[in-house]
Symmetry: D2
Subunit: 338 residues, 4 copies
Amino acid sequence: MIITLKKSTPKAEFDRLMDYLEGCNVRLNISYGDMFTVVGLVGDTTQISERKLEANEWVEHVQRVQAPYKLANRMFHPEDTIVDVGGVKIGAGEKIAIMAGPCAVESLEGLCEIAEEVKDAGASILRGGAYKPRTSPYSFQGLGYEGVMDLVEARKRTGLPTVSELMSVDKIDELAQNVDLIQIGARNMQNFDLLKAVGRINKPVMLKRGISASIEEWIMAAEYIMASGNPNVILCERGIKTFERMTRNTMDLAVIPIIKEKTHLPIVIDPSHATGDWKLIEPVALAAIAAGADGLMIEVHNHPEEALSDGSQSLKPEKFKELIVKARKVAEAVGREI
Amino acid sequence: MIITLKKSTPKAEFDRLMDYLEGCNVRLNISYGDMFTVVGLVGDTTQISERKLEANEWVEHVQRVQAPYKLANRMFHPEDTIVDVGGVKIGAGEKIAIMAGPCAVESLEGLCEIAEEVKDAGASILRGGAYKPRTSPYSFQGLGYEGVMDLVEARKRTGLPTVSELMSVDKIDELAQNVDLIQIGARNMQNFDLLKAVGRINKPVMLKRGISASIEEWIMAAEYIMASGNPNVILCERGIKTFERMTRNTMDLAVIPIIKEKTHLPIVIDPSHATGDWKLIEPVALAAIAAGADGLMIEVHNHPEEALSDGSQSLKPEKFKELIVKARKVAEAVGREI
Amino acid sequence: MIITLKKSTPKAEFDRLMDYLEGCNVRLNISYGDMFTVVGLVGDTTQISERKLEANEWVEHVQRVQAPYKLANRMFHPEDTIVDVGGVKIGAGEKIAIMAGPCAVESLEGLCEIAEEVKDAGASILRGGAYKPRTSPYSFQGLGYEGVMDLVEARKRTGLPTVSELMSVDKIDELAQNVDLIQIGARNMQNFDLLKAVGRINKPVMLKRGISASIEEWIMAAEYIMASGNPNVILCERGIKTFERMTRNTMDLAVIPIIKEKTHLPIVIDPSHATGDWKLIEPVALAAIAAGADGLMIEVHNHPEEALSDGSQSLKPEKFKELIVKARKVAEAVGREI
Amino acid sequence: MIITLKKSTPKAEFDRLMDYLEGCNVRLNISYGDMFTVVGLVGDTTQISERKLEANEWVEHVQRVQAPYKLANRMFHPEDTIVDVGGVKIGAGEKIAIMAGPCAVESLEGLCEIAEEVKDAGASILRGGAYKPRTSPYSFQGLGYEGVMDLVEARKRTGLPTVSELMSVDKIDELAQNVDLIQIGARNMQNFDLLKAVGRINKPVMLKRGISASIEEWIMAAEYIMASGNPNVILCERGIKTFERMTRNTMDLAVIPIIKEKTHLPIVIDPSHATGDWKLIEPVALAAIAAGADGLMIEVHNHPEEALSDGSQSLKPEKFKELIVKARKVAEAVGREI
């Protein structure tokens, strides 16, 4: 960490700050410039708050050199993490995981029908929301416990492991006991109580990026889960909010190599939410594979126009099959498999 | 709601969609254009999902004409709502409410000292975080229950009603019994389980705008609380995330007249979080009053450089006093009082 | 176009507006709702301004149904446009064009050395800036005319057609006579005098997307060029400005299928500017090809750390060669060639 | 400037970089940390490019300590600049300048009528666009020379100095000879040839902030004008592009104190473009004055619904008069005058 102090800092204030910093178990390197004095901190600075230092009126600027995360940091954990989701391994050079299924579970039969179709097409994990975060209180809020039980039955019939979203701490046992991968949605990425709660269990967790979270804030949210004891974290990008209105969100696929450089965690891409438009899912999915994604999450529905949630961003099963055929070719071109 | 259909829509698909819409208790007005057919829906459309309609491949575009919220909508509730916070009335032509205090409660004595100072300066409500949402798991997370008890004691000593943030459903009784106004923070603006929970009690709730929430999403979050039974909602703007890096967030004060036009709820401005920089608090606070804000929320700390959270955006008590003196003049200029 | 009028609109105002609209050569379809009156306009609405209608105090909302562009619109020109750049065809199913070279031309020998290397690796067009838009007046502003002459010489030696940026109208002849493709940079995307000027010549033009231009504004800028008489327009995406700070810009590859749906123009992707970081160029370039790009523009420099402009986003020639090898595989996987 | 180098930097590379830096006329302070080596540069670094240094593969990070601008920098020019526009002084403690008039000049009589009205209401400068940047090539592009002559005549009749936009270098003499203040619009904020051209004349220039320009980029654009010889620069904020769709743009009034801290230039606010909605102009204008603006620019039109450009964001003269009455009260409350 590098602290730039105003040249006009009174000696007493300067000394007081240096005493404080020395108490933080870091060594100090001080350079006296013409307009500023620059103090370099050497050692572990993850516990020192930039914003606290910035509150000092003599401090002009604080610059972090080391990332503020440790457990997620590739610098301290060079090998790729592989997460096992009900037998499906995700990360490193493993097969690219395809998570597919309806946005929301609507009925047991509908779910199982879609599950069979996506399995045939090549999906390895079944998705389906039982608890749904909806912008409007008047929209369908999910089947709840019944939806979770439908997922259990669909897994029994197809053998596919399942992923579903957890929205509140009081449902954590219900989901941990019944699904294979717990999803934390974009809107809850900084619901820190929820992050700590899933950090205390040992189910794998897929953490979606908040719609306006910086990459660093996203990694810090993963750090919350890991610091609470659960190392099985998968990151999932689903687009960020920008000024552009032709897509629901904007997805920068550069996050894939960035996440791989900064962390050792697997990264999954969700082209359904990123684009909000089924016509755009295929090109974005192929692009994600070319850029090195470890998995895809895609919404598939037999009758998108009748879906109770997000039909406009769901593929029909036959389109999904075509996508997987093409995705296999692109995966092969970059040395991966589906 | 206006639905634009492709000219090439097969008759069977068109009829099926019209049947569905007629079942939604709305009347239909159909215009046949050269390139598109346009269907106008007349009646209550709050329960109809645009995104579901957009999933229909023959639909080119869906445009909502009426807002998707009802309880918060000024159209159906023309008079301003006034919320009573422990005897302090907020909204309509009432005095502008000044909420001030430390970002986080750090100790009883520190809190009480600040509380006396802000009361002397003209604050009407004491703020202080007991449960703190922090980006890093390694940062101070708040005193929790002890902090809540400190707020109770500070209220006893100063008579100021209190506001504090609720982060999870399991602490709702603790806060509802001990503080006068429950704050839902920006990160939890779409934590729908939390919104429903505070909707089931009858304490006033201050709902902060999410850092990337559109104004409509923010009002929809208020609608969640109101639809669950609690009409005592105050909206609080604290800045949105943009590309600009010189301020922590970007605050468009145009939200003040917009919220007053679209809803009947009181609107409070938080210049501390909006700017992240104590030097900018005063001009933004004066601007908010000139634009018609019903209240301000300002962080005040005796020793910002030693604050455990967000010292850089806290005013010292003497600066706060100066601000209130100036704020009173601006309030008078626009026909309000502090 | 659909106009929503307030129910309270006085009859005289309503009639006046209807008269105006009938004078615009469109037919009107009027629906009377409970809260609003909706007027549908049938016919060519490209000359009618939404913002002018919105200025009418009785108008609640104006919704365009048809896009405001005609010449660039695929609806009126279903076949893909193919642009010929000095013999290299770009667009439709043609080979993916690889434009490569230094950010700025720095010397004849340096340019020719890089030109030979990128040609060997598989590039089909040589890029090099002679006039450089720089944020700081104290930065290198380009070699100007000398740089243009260096490009002429490099083309003579290698046979590669060239592309270079035009920044002002007074250099239009110089560039039109000496390079094969004129680039309009992101900062000048709405320099309308410049757009009209390149619309009056018949050299191909590559129009970069403005850093905060919506897709529609970008297409409208192309429409300016086409409406002035030049149909040879290539669109080039180079990332947009968002809150994310780990990349220079954010690039949503969903623009590729969107541009192909809305327009008939070729689309080229520039991963160098989009990411600002040479380590990210390869994955983003491969992703662009997978998503269907018609070309790539990549900065290549022999000694990036000594480049006078944007070295941090330039590839060394050997990295560029590796990229092309991989890119060919991905292109083949999606049925294209390089 | 502070450069952070990887610990693994080879000695030869390190020495080469230090040699280069010493050649830049700065002194070096080197700190050897456990994971990084930090080099502090002491002296004038405005000519050193961060991005060039970042291109060095051994460089982890570059942090500028001093701002990259000199002429606009308050650090080197502590007194406020006052710009004289045809006798109206703008900046420091001078009267708040009110620039008002139609978006575009449409006719001599219309212009003069509006000019008389805004003068009566308290405006000190007349605005009116003769050359108009329009998103669509099919929209009204301004009256051009005729519009400029109308401004000359309106000035003769009312005595109000005038401001109008310059869009291309070839009209610079026309505007410099006939108007009192040359406006550079948001779309041309980084049209560097145009900036250099207005830097070579000695008319005052009002530089609007680009719709996605950071505050630093905006100041650097002013630096271009000043570095070319013209110190008479006024900055004008007109809102930035964000995800919010209820306003045309988002305006953070925090720019007012920031510009005053970083530079010595006057700052004017344009609430018409910032909001795009006449109903929002008054509250935003009052807020701007409370926050310390040196001037306002407001669009006024006698018949907004018939305006050829941007009627929806224009005030009628009677609304403008009401606004000025209120604005005077707010100005007085913050110790200024109109």
